[in-house]
Amino acid sequence: MGFFKTRLFWIALVVIVAASTLPLYVSGYVLGVLTVAYYFGVFAMSWDLLFGFAGEVNFGPTFLIGVGAYTAGIINNQYGLSPYLCIFIGAMASVIAGVVLALPALRVRGPYFGLTTLVAVLMLQNFIVVFADLTGGEIGLTIPDVITISASANYWIALGFMVVSGAILYGLSQSPIGLVLQASGQDPVQAGALGFNIVKHKLFAFVVSAFFSGLSGALLVFYFGTASVGTVVDVAVGVNVIVAAVLGGRRTVIGAALGATFLIVAGEFLRPTGELATFIVSAIALLVVLFFPGGFLGAAMSRQSPEAKA
């Protein structure tokens, strides 16, 4: 693996080691913000696998996140199974939801695909509100169990989860499968003519993306102790995931995690500005989209030597 010799790997290693020592000297408040940011990072990385590599614009990342989060939450709330089992079942439910969504959605292309995924989110949102007895409706679902109450432990779980997910997703994106995905995203006809089964590869990307989205969503609600439409399903959350991935640099996987961390931390810093916070974050994101379309990581990597890029 040439990757272990690249500068990117060493920078990533240093950042991760530095991040894992944070609980020793920062407050629980900062850890709490970063914990959420790391789970968000996994959302954005999963989205990037689907868009950046498979070329599919998924407008409904929160459909996959929400199914995982709510399934885990409802099972814990109704049957009181252990959190780990609930999280696993949540992730599996998300995979099933991903397949159900992908089968019809992959028949259509471009904006139509985007709309199908968007409609899926709106349907899920309606479903949650209508079946309020089961889901808690607009008030939200209370989740009785937690994994741990220690801020440091939660932080390490989130960091570890993000690093492992990031490594798997990045590895996948650089593997032969990733190359086939990239080819089918850019020119499906030609990739198909070369003998690759495009639908199978895209379905696989969908399943992987759904698995990590659902897992991360389930972990997030167990951290929050509650699941609500506003935190894991709303279209606005999905927009944030997309903005994070584009901001960090699409087609880089790791950039998506940077973008998500930036977005959450910036939102926290701008909290004193009140209602203008979202305005400022959106304006920054728009400027990045207009002037640095490669995102943070894209801008940084274009200055590096070509072999480091690979």
Binding site: Y112, L115, T116, A236
Partner: protein
């Protein structure tokens, strides 16, 4: 009795949806842009009309004009500041321009929405209607404002049809939607055509926004649902097909009104979403769309 009520209410809502969606589909048909700041522009128009009347004491007509003017200006800013730079950018690969335009207009829409919320709060605002009073149509009490809304929508759509099909400028727009390269070879500046289309779009979205503000009222929370409903109507009808959007607007409008009256207002949007999923599955190009 109830059937007639649904028929009348549904018509007004549908006509409003149709007006909102025509501009949206026109831009897509001509320049291939899906403008996700659509809802924000409509709300900006309504809030401007409301502010002109309530804060600056203008009469309803002047307020409505201010609203339409604000939508026109916002639409042109959207084109020049967001869409055109992305389309001209050399750093964005051509196949990715679509997602960048979507992301860019989405962010721009959120900026407008947040600015409105900051300047005028999140509260729902109702624009003072131009006509007041109620009439009875075959025993159904109908606000005159509702009739006025439906009438204006139909007139504006008819005017748009004339503009596109009967004027030289309209024919240039139509030609650009069919073959942009051919139009440039005839010596027409494509950018000028796009500016005209965005201006038409701004006026349409402005009128739709102000009427919506008079009929149902708006708040900065309406931005997302408005964009989503225009998007789904346009996809249901077939992207880029104006007549398809008109039909789809009436289908969605009546379906929603019917559900609201017969089942429950809480389920209002669900049948339309289900229909959309079914159409996407069976006929992905929409009702009247071409592949």
């Amino acid at each position: 009795m109830l059937a007639l009520q649904i028929l009348i209410d549904g018509f007004a809502i549908s006509a409003l949806y149709a007006l909102g969606a025509t501009g949206f589909t026109l831009i897509f048909g001509v320049s291939g842009v899906l403008n996700l700041s659509h809802g924000a522009i409509m709300v900006a128009a309504a809030v401007a009309a409301w502010a002109a009347a309530s804060t600056f004491g203008m009469n309803q007509y002047a307020g409505a004009l201010v609203g339409v003017a604000v939508a026109l200006i916002t639409a042109l800013i959207t084109y020049f500041a967001v869409v055109q730079p992305i389309q001209r950018s050399r750093r964005i690969a051509n196949e990715e321009k679509e997602i960048f335009v979507l992301t860019g207009t989405l962010l721009w829409g959120i900026m407008i929405q947040e600015l409105i919320a900051y300047l005028f709060t999140n509260n729902a605002k109702t624009v003072l209607p131009i006509v007041n009073g109620v009439v009875e149509i075959l025993g159904v009490r109908t606000p005159q404002n509702e009739i006025f809304t439906a009438l204006v929508c139909c007139l504006v759509i008819a005017a748009l049809w004339l503009l596109v099909n009967r004027t030289k400028m309209g024919k240039a727009v139509l030609a650009a939607s069919m073959n942009p390269r051919g139009v440039t070879l005839l010596g027409l500046e494509l950018t000028n055509i796009y500016v005209v289309v965005w201006a038409i779009y701004g006026v349409l979205a402005g009128i739709a926004g102000v009427l919506l503000g008079m009929f149902l009222g708006v708040s900065s929370y309406s931005v997302g649902p408005l964009t989503a409903s225009a998007f789904s109507i346009v996809v249901l009808g077939g992207l880029g097909s104006v007549s398809g959007s008109l039909i789809a607007a009436f289908v969605v409008g009546y379906l929603e009104t019917f559900t609201a009256y017969m089942i429950s207002p809480a389920y209002r949007t669900i049948p339309a979403l289900l229909l959309l999923v079914i159409v996407m599955y069976l006929r992905p190009q929409g009702l009247l769309g071409r592949r």
